[in-house]
Each structure stands twice: as structure tokens, then as C-alpha cells.
């Protein structure tokens, strides 16, 4: 075994010397004499997403004179409960969902732009959940309601002041066909 090791050592040394000589001229060899392949990166092919087309809704949901055309509930800074002034609006939507069990609603919560995008996503979720809970308390079925968050990603007001931030602390109700 020992003999074999010695043989192997000499063999490898000789091979290595040859390797160095053949590879590299006379002043000593680079540490790697054959080229280490640099990763070949495949060209990245972009995917383009397609959006959703909304269809027409019953006029009760879109007629400006109908309370159901009001779809936004606003929240105070750092607040996630539904203010008194929006109870009537939420009640009207709960009645619509009870009367139209084939309809589903998507509640999108939103926040202002300040702070972490992911944390804001969770804060927007709290706003959407508050609307969902109230709709369910008033008799709408859970299967009719999905509460989601857009966080700070889809600001309705693009400004960077108190007025814009207040506009963006909001939950919106969308109905089947709009999402």
C-alpha cells in the first residue's frame, strides 16, 4: 500500500510537471492551466402578463344614484376598524350579497406609501378583513367574499402628501366581472 502511494505520488508529480510545462511557457504557471468554464447564462426570455377584462354589471352596482355604486371605505391613519360613517354603505352591500347569492365580492385593502411594502400589504389586509367581517356579521356568506390586499402598490392618489395618503388608506369592493 505504501509502495503504491509512493508510486502514485511520483506519477502525479511527473504528470503535473508535464502539465505545467505544456500549458504555460517558462516563467511558472497560472494556478489553473486549463480554462475553468465561466457559467454560460441562457438568455432570459420575458413573459408578458395579460390582465383581466371586466364585463358589465347590473345597474344597481354602477348607477351613481344607487348607494351600491359607492365602493370605497376610508380609514384613519393606523386604523383598521370601519368608521361610523361607512356602516350604511357596508350594510347596503351586505343586503345586495344576501339578495344575490350568485354574486361574489373581492375586497381590496390599500395603504399609504410609507414603510415596508410587505408590511403594508399585511396592513391593507387588515382593512379588507374588517370589511369582510362586517359583511358576514350582516348576513353575507363567507363563500361570497374574498378579502385581499394591494398594500401600497396601487395608489389611487399619486401624491406624497397627507391628502394623497388619506385617499390611499382605503378598502374597495369589486364584484364578479370586475375581478
Amino acid at each position: 500500500m505504501k509502495k503504491f502511494s509512493r508510486f502514485l505520488f511520483f506519477f502525479l508529480s511527473a504528470a503535473f510537471s508535464l502539465f505545467l510545462l505544456s500549458g504555460c511557457g517558462t516563467t511558472g504557471a497560472p494556478a489553473e492551466t486549463s480554462g475553468a468554464p465561466v457559467e454560460d447564462r441562457a438568455q432570459i426570455a420575458p413573459i408578458e402578463t395579460s390582465g383581466i377584462n371586466s364585463s358589465t354589471l347590473p345597474s344597481a352596482l354602477t348607477d351613481p344614484s344607487s348607494p351600491l355604486s359607492r365602493r370605497s371605505i376610508y380609514f384613519a391613519l393606523d386604523r383598521y376598524d370601519i368608521a361610523e360613517e361607512y356602516r350604511e354603505l357596508v350594510t347596503a352591500h351586505a343586503r345586495f350579497l344576501i339578495a344575490n347569492p350568485q354574486f361574489k365580492t373581492l375586497i381590496q385593502g390599500n395603504t399609504d406609501e410609507r414603510g415596508s411594502r410587505e408590511y403594508n400589504l399585511s396592513l391593507g389586509q387588515k382593512r379588507a378583513e374588517a370589511v369582510k367581517q362586517m359583511l358576514m356579521l350582516l348576513g353575507a356568506q363567507e363563500s361570497q367574499i374574498e378579502a385581499v390586499s394591494l398594500g401600497e402598490e396601487k395608489p389611487r392618489a399619486e401624491g406624497h402628501d397627507e391628502a394623497a395618503w388619506a385617499e390611499n388608506r382605503r378598502a374597495d369592493l369589486l364584484y364578479s366581472g370586475e375581478f
Partner: protein, 437 residues
């Protein structure tokens, strides 16, 4: 903390080659090709002076030899840790005798010379690095690449020089993923760490956030709002295809890969509020990890797979906590201030980067996990989304300059600073890739 404010280098970047797909349809718009440009705005306390001669060209064009050396020079200069000594007019390759006296006179501590040769359509770049003071070779290497990826060989040369002279691994061959918002559209971009070669993986009219690299660098998980709600996709950079990773009722967000790439931590609201779950990388085997009455989000695995760090408001304000990766009692990590979010762990396990709010300003902070000492590393006001370089030395983050989103790169000692921006777009949500395999 020393801060060097003067901008000493503003580099215009080259136009990237257009991106072609299959039958030759040009898929990229000029806007999507917008390159990140780098400005170095701070540098290390001591810079190692290094000279790199244009590579001599055994077969091929002389410009290639100059271009390759230039990539390596710019890499080293942009790192803030090197001063590039003029090597103009010097012809040298890895085998020629080194003019030590000349380099000593020009103030270089180290000299590198090399050559390029073309062999069956590929380029072999060989070089050797010398210690000028000791008049001795330090190291040498050879890299093989195809002609279109000559820059990649230049990055490898820079990585070798960087590692030999600083003792830590270079990140010049890594990439940064980010989201570019321009003309009302969102582009998930993948660029080399020097801003070159930006390629688009996804174009969407709806927001894309939270890109996360798989540990092998072949996939990116991200959150897309293209279906009116946040859904997590797992996108293969090799095949250009993607799968829905999580589309549960409610919101799906904040994906983070486990160190072995088999599992992904994510945040779902399916049980009523944002909680952390684990899912297999193929989308199966969902289990709930956190169970609190408040928000739990932004999970990040520690490199040793022992812990998951996350943001939670369970104590009344958002703070960073950690929990054993198999679940259990959470331990609070941040205590100063009432808004500490977006944890990012250094791959060496030593540091935690996060965003802290001070007097209404959101700033990058770094905590030494052994001593629990925290240092604020920025004086800007809209810092977001820190992500560590794989060598644990640098952090890329999103910030704002002149009303536009830009990326900022900061060393963990706060000295070296770079700014990466795109002329006509908002850049945000950076994620530094792992080392190439």
C-alpha cells in the same frame, strides 16, 4: 462612521445586446433595455493600488484584450476597495517578465497581466497576479467563455484579484434582480452586479414585488398583482417559464427560500390575517409556521436553516422576531424604536440588516447578531428592502433620489457606497443573487 461624499466616478454603461427569443422576434422595448448605471459615492479607508495591463491577444482582436482588462478594472474600482493604477501602453501577458520597477514607481502594490486566445469559437482568458513589493507571483487563473460573454471572464479575473488581495470572495460575477417601473409598466429585471446586461424576465401592467432568488440561482419567486390580488409565482430563468406557487384565498406574499432550496416560507391571509406558512418548492405540503393574533410577515431563513426571522406587530408595533425553523416560541430581536421591518440576514450568519424608522425617516440599520449592537448606515429617508450580497460584505437596498426610486449599495461598515439608477424609471425591490455555481 466615515462618509466620503464626493462622487469620483460616474460611469456610462454600454448598451446591452438585444434579447432575442426563438424564431428571432425582438421582445424587448427600448425602455426595458434601460441599463442600470453605477455611481460610486464612497470608498474604503484604504484602497489597494493595482495595475492591470490590457490583455495581449494571441488570436482575436486587440480591442477584446483591452475590453476584458477594462471590465476587471471597473469592477475593482467600483468596489471602493481598489485604486486602479494607470497601465496604459504596457504590453504584457501572463508569461512575460514583470517590470516591477515600473509598477513600484507608479505606486501599484499589485500587477496583473494576461492573454486572450480563441479556440473553437470560445475565448480563453489567462492571467497572473503579482506582488510588486515582494516581486513574486501571487496567483493565476484561466477562464473559458464564449465570445458573447467576454465580460463574464473579466468579472472572473476581478473576482480572483479581489479574493487574493482582500481575503474575501468577490461578487463581480453575481447578479441583482429588481423591479423597474417605467411608462406605467413593471419589469422584473436581472442585471449583472455592475449594472450591465440587464434582461427582462417579466413584463406586467400590474405591480410585481418581493423577488427572491432560489439558492441555486436558477429561479426567482415573486409576488404579482396581475390577477387583482397578490399571487406568488416561481419563475425559471433557464426556461423562461413560471408556475403559480401560491394562490390561496386572500393574499399570498413575501416568499423566501430555505437554504437548501426545497421549501419556501411565505405569508398567507387564508386564515384571516397575515401569517407565515411553509410550502414545498413544487407547491405542495403547505404547513402553518406562525400562530399569532397579529401580523407576521417578511420571513427570512437564517443561512444555517435554524431560524426564520420575520416582522410582527404582536407587541403593538412592528418589530423583528425569530422562531426556530420547525416552529415554537418566537424571540424578539429588535427593541429600539417603534418600527423595525424587512429583515435580511447575511449569508455568513453574523449580521441582520433591516429598516428602522427614526423621526419619520426610514433608514438602513445593521445589527451584529453576536453583540446585538445596531448601527444606522444611511441618512436617507425612504430606504426599503435590504438584501445582502453573497459575500456578506455589501447590502443592496431601494431608496429615493430626486423623487425617483434608485438602488443603493452600502458596505456593512458604511464606508463604500454606490448608487444604481435607470435614467427614465423607478427602480425598486432589489434582490442580490447567490454566487454563481
Amino acid at each position: 462612521m466615515l462618509r466620503f461624499a464626493a462622487v469620483f466616478s460616474a460611469l456610462r454603461l454600454l448598451r446591452a445586446a438585444p434579447l432575442w427569443l426563438g424564431a428571432g422576434i425582438l421582445l424587448l422595448t427600448p425602455a426595458a433595455q434601460a441599463q442600470l448605471s453605477i455611481e460610486v459615492t464612497g470608498s474604503g479607508a484604504r484602497q489597494i493600488p493595482v495595475a492591470i495591463a490590457d490583455f495581449s491577444v494571441l488570436s482575436g482582436s486587440a480591442e477584446q484584450g483591452a475590453a476584458l482588462a477594462d471590465v476587471a478594472r471597473r469592477d475593482l474600482e467600483q468596489s471602493g476597495l481598489f485604486r486602479v493604477v494607470n497601465a496604459e501602453g504596457v504590453r504584457s501577458d501572463e508569461s512575460s517578465p514583470v517590470e516591477y520597477a515600473l509598477w513600484k514607481e507608479r505606486g501599484a502594490d499589485a500587477f496583473a497581466g494576461g492573454s486572450l486566445s480563441l479556440a473553437s469559437g470560445r475565448i480563453e482568458a489567462r492571467f497572473r497576479l503579482y506582488d510588486v513589493t515582494r516581486q513574486a507571483p501571487l496567483t493565476g487563473a484561466a477562464f473559458l467563455t464564449d465570445v458573447a460573454h467576454l465580460r463574464a471572464a473579466g468579472h472572473r479575473v476581478a473576482d480572483t484579484i479581489y479574493e487574493t488581495l482582500t481575503g474575501e470572495r468577490g461578487v463581480f460575477s453575481t447578479r441583482i434582480a429588481y423591479v423597474l417601473k417605467t411608462a406605467g409598466r413593471y419589469h422584473l429585471q436581472i442585471a449583472d452586479a455592475d449594472g450591465h446586461n440587464a434582461q427582462t424576465a417579466l413584463i406586467s401592467s400590474e405591480p410585481v414585488i418581493s423577488p427572491a432568488w432560489s439558492p441555486d440561482g436558477t429561479r426567482i419567486a415573486y409576488v404579482s398583482f396581475e390577477n387583482k390580488k397578490p399571487i406568488i409565482f416561481s419563475h425559471s430563468l433557464l426556461t423562461g417559464t413560471r408556475q403559480v406557487l401560491a394562490n390561496f384565498k386572500g393574499s399570498n406574499s413575501a416568499p423566501a427560500w430555505s437554504p437548501d432550496g426545497t421549501r419556501i416560507a411565505l405569508v398567507l391571509s387564508r386564515d384571516g390575517h397575515s401569517q407565515i406558512y411553509l410550502i414545498n418548492a413544487n407547491g405542495g405540503g403547505l404547513t402553518r409556521l406562525s400562530n399569532s393574533a397579529g401580523i407576521d410577515t417578511e420571513p427570512q431563513f437564517s443561512a444555517d436553516d435554524a431560524f426564520i426571522y420575520f416582522t410582527s406587530d404582536r407587541g403593538g408595533s412592528p418589530q423583528i422576531y425569530r422562531v426556530a425553523a420547525q416552529g415554537g416560541m418566537a424571540e424578539r430581536i429588535t427593541f429600539t424604536g417603534n418600527y423595525n421591518v424587512s429583515p435580511s440576514l447575511s449569508p455568513d450568519g453574523k449580521n441582520l440588516a433591516f429598516i428602522t424608522r427614526q423621526d419619520g425617516a426610514f433608514r438602513l440599520a445593521v445589527m451584529d447578531l453576536a453583540s446585538r449592537q445596531t448601527q444606522i448606515l444611511s441618512d436617507s429617508s425612504k430606504d426599503e428592502s435590504p438584501s445582502f450580497a453573497p459575500n456578506s460584505r455589501m447590502i443592496v437596498l431601494a431608496t429615493e433620489m430626486g423623487g425617483r426610486g434608485t438602488l443603493s449599495v452600502v458596505s456593512i461598515d458604511g464606508r463604500v457606497r454606490q448608487r444604481l439608477s435607470v435614467p427614465a424609471g423607478d427602480v425598486r425591490e432589489p434582490a442580490w443573487s447567490p454566487f454563481p455555481r
